[in-house]
Amino acid sequence: MITRRSLLRTTAATGLTMAAGSLAAPAIAQGARIRLGYVSPQSGPLAAFSEADKFIIDGFLASEAGAEFEVIVKDSQSNPNRAAEVAKELIIDDEIDMMLVASTPETTNPVATTCEAEQIPVISTVAPWQPWFIGQQGNPGEPGSWRPFDYSFHFFWGLEDVISVFTAMWNQLDTNKQVGGLFPNDGDGNAWGDPNVGFPQPLAAQGYGLTDPGRYQNLTDDFSAQINAFKQADCDIVTGVPIPPDFTTFWTQAKQQGFAPKAASIGKAILFPQAVEALGDQGHNLSSEVWWSPTHPFASSLTGASAGDLATGYMAATGKQWTQPIGFAHALFEMAADVMGRVEDSRDPDEVAAAIAATQLNSIVGRLAFDGSGLPPFAAANIAKTPLVGGQWRLRGDGGYDLVIVDNSDHPDIPVGGTMEAIS
């Protein structure tokens, strides 16, 4: 049986040139194009997350399904207040049908909160689900008071995945199981170091000892205190979620002061190849969580392109190395096309929200469905989890770095490119 949804998907995937718009999506047939608002940090300290935005959006608009859409892009300037402001502009002045938002809780949370209040459906990504869901609650400290959202949806992984990936990578090495924690005093650092939802409990359960000297301020110029604490505890492993300049300072000082751990699994700071290159040849075998790579065995529901094709296209178009947010930015627009293909009236927020909740999409970042798998009951309605694996940066001959997947114990369908190596 041909449904609206399957027809839209087939025509998009096979690239048929027939004018399928009117048949495929009744919402589209009403003449006006569907208006999508998109907020991301295109300038400011978080701008590296949004480098691929233009490439992704141009690709989306050029696709069969994308031709029915208008995308209005706004820059959050890496500022939460600005993000909320532009979200309001998109809703009130541009009268968008649906909001898309990406990259870090500082961008996703203010936009999602604004949309929830204005009753505009929003799909968000690239922020671990705990800071996204819990951070938007009226009282984050009181789990009993947490409520699901009516119009806000999010797809990404959570802290439990990062902990599982990091420990699986460390288990590949022969270490003394002593871990040093580098947790800054910001949203991410407080969540990672939190005694209830963060690293301490799961690490203890797996027999790892955690040395956590305490929360430090971002843009600290000296890490002697942490290095001395890690040396005293004889830590073989370092983990944490510092910002890039702080990790460079820490890692350089650690080498200067003779602290040489066997593994350093760091979130956030070494996400982008440029940040690893800033370490010179000291970045070899640093490890990190990997949410998307060209070797992920997924393909786009919009264009049929594989993850590898998308990354190659990006590198050819921009001359830059691929980065992880590319896949997720593409998946956001896949979601938009898929959802709008299943609604009668794109201007009816309740119908659109219901369509998002019913999503069953095989996207370029994996299967997206709000079925609550791997999630606690309170978050099940609003969050879809994507797979997470672990990778290591390997130094190339020319001074650049390649990200090699070294652990896939949670998601064996994603191929590994090597095994975990100790830092020499």
Binding site: Y216, D221, D222, P245, Q256
Partner: protein, 287 residues
């Protein structure tokens, strides 16, 4: 032993802060100009060195030698054609203009170099260390500290041994009387800002070798520079070095107690000095 290490690391960190502060101290001391764009000028210096390193393939220290005269000319022009027009009885215009300059610089750097964080290319020297008994001191922090001391010594020689220095001091004390003696304050100010930007370039080199920088990182560096100048006392160059060291040691000692205290204890040390010696530790003159 950890305490000795902590204090030593703090002193070395103080050298970096003193380098950030020396240029600010010079300008502040001579013309009472609070340059809010100082941190952004440091970042701009770092980008200039980076461009020279990438384009000409020079090692960072050689690129510094080319960058210094460029930055001198830039500082001279900046003072002569922009900041001199703002100087007067009212202290507000220079504040507003340098604040605006800070915003302009940040965005110009962002447009030109994007938000990617950069670092000057490093070699084995960056992670090399000197073993002093049980304590390992990084070669790069030691170099930073030595440069800070050299800069302060050099500035003192300039101030107290040369006719330019005499002109600096005279203009600082009383610009009107100095101009009666044949000194043009406008040119003296321009030269002073030029020299300040040469020091900024040295600070930029060590900033870029120590950690990543991006266009938005400047203002965070400005606050420590300010505190070092104020702790040291207006116009006292050795005081600026002492101020940098006090903030550095306060930060590392605070962090050894608990990392949450690191930044705060630097600020607290600053407040305590202000309470006990409101004019700083070594004020130069009673003005």
């Amino acid at each position: 032993m950890i305490w000795i290490d902590t204090v030593l690391q703090g002193i070395l960190l103080g050298g970096l802060y003193a380098l950030f502060a020396a240029g600010l101290s010079l300008v502040f001391g001579i013309m009472r100009l609070v340059n809010l764009a100082h941190g952004d000028l440091i970042v701009m210096g770092a980008y200039l060195i980076l461009v020279l390193v990438t384009l000409l393939g020079l090692p960072p220290f050689a690129a510094l030698l080319i960058a210094m005269p460029v930055m001198f000319c830039l500082g001279w022009g900046l003072q002569k054609f922009l900041l001199n027009r703002t100087l007067g009885d009212d202290i507000l215009p220079p504040l507003l203009v340098t604040f605006g300059l800070s915003v302009v610089l940040q965005n110009a750097l962002l447009e030109t170099f994007s938000a990617d964080s950069q670092r000057l290319p490093t070699d084995a020297l960056t992670t090399a260390s000197l073993q002093v008994g049980p304590i390992a001191l990084g070669v790069m922090p030691l170099l930073t500290f030595a440069s800070a001391v050299l800069v302060i010594v050099g500035l003192n020689q300039l101030f107290y041994r040369t006719s330019l220095g005499r002109a600096f001091r005279a203009t600082s004390d009383d610009a009107v009387t100095a101009s009666l003696m044949g000194i043009r304050p406008a040119n003296i100010f321009a030269t002073a800002t030029g020299i300040a930007l040469v020091i900024v370039t040295i600070a930029a080199l060590y900033l870029g070798l120590r950690a990543n920088f991006d266009p938005n990182i400047g203002p965070a560096r400005l606050i420590y520079a300010f505190e070092a100048v104020i702790i040291g006392g207006l116009g006292s160059l050795w005081g600026t070095l002492a101020g940098g060291i006090i903030i550095g040691v306060a930060q590392t000692v605070g962090a050894a107690v608990n990392p949450e205290w690191q930044i705060l204890s630097g600020h607290i040390a600053f407040l305590i000095v202000l309470l006990v010696r409101p004019r700083g530790l070594f004020p130069r003159a009673n003005d």
